[in-house]
């Protein structure tokens, strides 16, 4: 056992920190710190810098443009990005579609998509969920029927993150209805500007636009857009969902919260927070910090593949605890700022900022609301608990 960071790890941490400081546009970091999600245009400069450095895709094999980092280095990178308010760049393209193409895609598909994804030219959305199939992919109804050299796709997707700014959807569709439900699925790349694709925005509780409904009405795509063999979509989808098994722990984001809350308590003190309450909030912060440190080490254990309880169970535990910690952190921030978090802050949509709220107040409430969604991302807490029971105890 050697569970400490090595000197090389620490040098790498300094390198990452220096790179971010030199390349991350301050306006982008400010907006990210408030918790407002960044759209595609605003993150381009950052993705370009990352791509120049070769750091866009830590999860890809080196030969396709991956970084070749050790698990610890990958974690250090995530943590530093969290601490420095680095916004996410297209997660679905880089962390899901890319690895699937590297593993299952034809040379043509790789040739056509991987470099543009790395550069940030192609954004993807993920067409899995449907109105009648949330966590339960076996019930998908979207059909793709072969017609000459094309697939013709009909169906409806929902909760499609970033569909309104994506170039392509990786669409899970039923290509064989004669076999058992899991066996007849395929993954097909659909250009979002193809005729028959309609995107409808869904507003979420945080007042923002992240997710969409996508209607596919006789959408015709070339046969070569199907990834790998027909009817192997189930395997690919499982690979994709498991590829970033520690993502749902939100460790980087949690480190950000833990790091900034002490200063926020001082902001609160300057705005009338009584000392006795500040003491209570410092206590809650310490308790949160302890749990987040444990969570970080859990992430490292999963990344390092520590033997012991099955990895799948540990990853599920991470997802549940990550969401709990996020809600505690965001709730604590709201509590510290008190009445100052009641206003709806949307600096860009014309609602004026209230006179009395410090800049730190913007986005605190909406981010709290958003984290309730973390309790279902990537499988609800209930699904995770069932996985744990089935893996370890059944």
């Amino acid at each position: 056992m050697n569970m400490a960071f090595t000197a090389e790890d620490e040098a790498f941490q300094q390198e990452v920190r220096g790179f971010i400081a030199a390349n991350l546009p301050p306006a982008l970091a400010r907006r990210e710190a408030m918790g407002f999600h960044n759209d595609r245009a605003t993150v381009t400069a950052w993705q370009t810098a990352l791509h120049r450095r070769g750091w866009t895709a830590p999860g890809w094999p080196v030969e396709f443009g991956g970084t070749g980092w050790s698990p610890v280095q990958r974690y250090i990178f995530e943590r530093e990005c969290g601490l420095a308010n680095v916004p996410e760049i297209c997660l679905i393209a880089l962390s899901m579609v890319g690895p699937v193409l590297c593993r299952f895609g034809s040379p043509e598909l790789r040739e056509r998509f991987l470099q543009p994804i790395l550069r940030g030219d192609y954004w993807f959305c993920q067409g899995f969920s449907e109105p009648e199939a949330g966590s339960d992919l076996a019930s998908l109804r979207t059909r793709a029927v072969r017609d000459g050299g094309d697939w013709v796709i009909n169906g409806q997707k929902i909760w499609t993150t970033d569909a309104h700014m994506a170039d392509f959807m990786v669409c899970l569709a039923r290509t064989d209805t004669e076999v058992k439900p899991q066996a007849g699925l395929s993954m097909i790349i659909v250009p979002m500007d193809a005729p028959g694709v309609t995107v409808r925005a869904i507003e979420t509780l945080d007042g923002d636009h992240h997710v969409n409904e996508v209607f596919l009405d006789n959408v015709r795509v070339p046969a070569g857009n199907l990834i790998g063999e027909p009817n192997s979509g189930w395997t690919q989808a499982k690979f994709l969902l498991e590829h970033e098994r520690t993502h749902n722990a939100y460790a980087g984001m949690l480190c950000r919260y833990v790091a900034r809350i002490p200063a926020l308590i001082e902001v609160g003190r300057a705005n009338g927070l009584p000392e006795a309450q500040a003491t209570e909030y410092r206590r809650r912060h310490a308790r949160l910090a302890i749990d987040v440190e444990a969570l970080e080490w859990s992430v490292l254990r999963v990344l390092a593949g520590q033997p012991g309880p099955a990895l799948g169970a540990a990853a599920s535990a991470l997802a549940v605890r990550g969401a709990q910690c996020l809600l505690r952190a965001a709730d604590l921030e709201m509590a510290i700022l008190g009445p100052q978090v009641a206003p709806a802050f949307r600096p860009e949509d014309g609602v004026p900022m209230p006179a009395f709220a410090p800049p730190a107040a913007a986005g605190r409430t909406t981010q709290y609301l958003y984290w309730w969604a973390a309790t279902i991302f990537g499988g609800s807490d209930e699904v995770q608990r069932t996985i744990i029971w089935n893996t370890l105890y059944r």
């Binding site: 979420t204 009338g272 009641a342 206003p343």
Partner: protein, 349 residues
């Protein structure tokens, strides 16, 4: 001891529930027509002279219906302040207009960087025959729609309450919305008012008393919201299929819903315990109100959040109703003192 609603209370509850189920939110004028703006006003001024139990019954229904108009603030807090502090012949006229919905008043109590402190930094100084008020007021619910503001200001070492026209020169308002889309405003005041606009030179107890009534209304509002969110969740689980089964057949989900009931039922008891405290002495009432606030708002966030969670993705959309209870909970908690404020107040009492 009797927990049964009397016949007027039953009628109030049923008619409100029926009306709100049809009308959705209802407007201020609608409130007036239904008599709700007069429920907190005394009978001698044309009101219904409702007690705390009546206010809570109506507030619970408004919360259930997610009614956007400010009942606790507008119809309770402002009305009770006018009732208690305005003297002379203008009192009945003012209350009459408020009950009719033709004149809206908003209480402007809080100031920047002072959280829930009621001792104002806004000052009042004698100026000719009147007073000059200077200061900033924030988080004035419904401030932009009000005709007049009820403004606290420091005067001769006491806390005075003034009635200030919102459109008067020197009243500089800035309207915005809260996270749950209620209307709100901040005000810079540098304004001279006539002497008769001073309602009281020593208004602090009256403000605290009226606030406690408004606070309990917000607790009742949240209780209605929680009950509705739990019912919606149970109904949703019965309609939604996953993995070939109705969600409602999963025992873990059944038990989660049962836990929400257990929590919300405790809030109902806190509320029913606080209502009779309004008939007793002030210290005990404050304790009971703060206890109710702490239990309500710690619970409300968890219950409404879990209701959202149990709905899955659809719960997070603004098109669907359940998430609005969560938004309302986290904003309401911050309107008249938050959980830690009230826990401290409870411990002092």
């Amino acid at each position: 001891m009797d927990f049964t609603l009397n016949s007027e209370q039953t009628m109030l509850r049923d008619s409100a529930r029926r009306y709100l189920a049809q009308a959705g939110g209802a407007s201020w004028q609608g409130y007036a027509e239904l008599g709700w703006l007069g429920i907190a006003a005394p009978e001698d001024a044309g009101g219904l002279g409702g007690g705390m139990a009546d206010l809570a019954i109506l507030a619970e229904e408004l919360g259930r219906a997610l009614a956007p108009e400010p009942f606790a603030d507008g119809a309770v807090l402002a009305t009770r302040l006018v009732d208690r502090l305005v003297v002379g012949h203008s009192r009945e006229a003012l209350l009459g207009e408020m009950i009719a919905g033709t004149r809206r008043l908003a209480a402007a109590l809080y100031e920047p960087g002072r959280r829930y402190e009621l001792a104002p930094q806004t000052t009042a100084v004698r100026d000719g025959g009147g007073y000059r008020l200077s200061g900033t007021k924030v988080l004035v619910m419904d401030g932009a729609a009000a005709d007049d503001l009820l403004v606290t200001a420091a005067l001769d070492g006491g806390v005075a309450l003034f009635l200030v026209g919102r459109e008067q020169a020197g009243v500089d308002g800035r309207a915005y919305r809260t996270v749950d889309r209620r209307d709100c405003a901040d005000f810079r005041l540098d304004v001279t008012v006539e002497a008769d606009r001073l309602l009281s030179g020593n208004a602090l107890d009256a403000v605290e008393d009226a606030l406690d009534e408004a606070r309990l209304c917000l607790c009742a509002d949240m209780l209605g919201g929680m009950d509705s969110a739990i019912e919606m969740t149970a109904e949703y689980l019965k309609t939604r299929t996953q993995f070939g089964q109705k969600l409602a057949t999963f025992q873990a989900l059944q038990h989660s819903v049962a836990d929400l009931f257990i929590d919300a039922d405790s809030v109902r008891s806190s509320l029913l315990r606080a209502i009779p405290a309004f008939g007793g002495e002030r210290a005990a009432r404050r304790k009971a109100v703060s206890a109710c606030w702490v239990n309500t708002f710690e619970t409300a966030k968890r219950v409404t959040g879990m209701a959202v969670h149990l709905h899955g993705a659809i719960g997070f959309t603004t098109e669907y109703r359940v998430g609005h209870y969560l938004r309302r909970a986290i904003v309401s908690e911050r309107l008249f003192g938050d959980v830690e404020f009230h826990l401290a107040r409870y411990m002092e009492g």
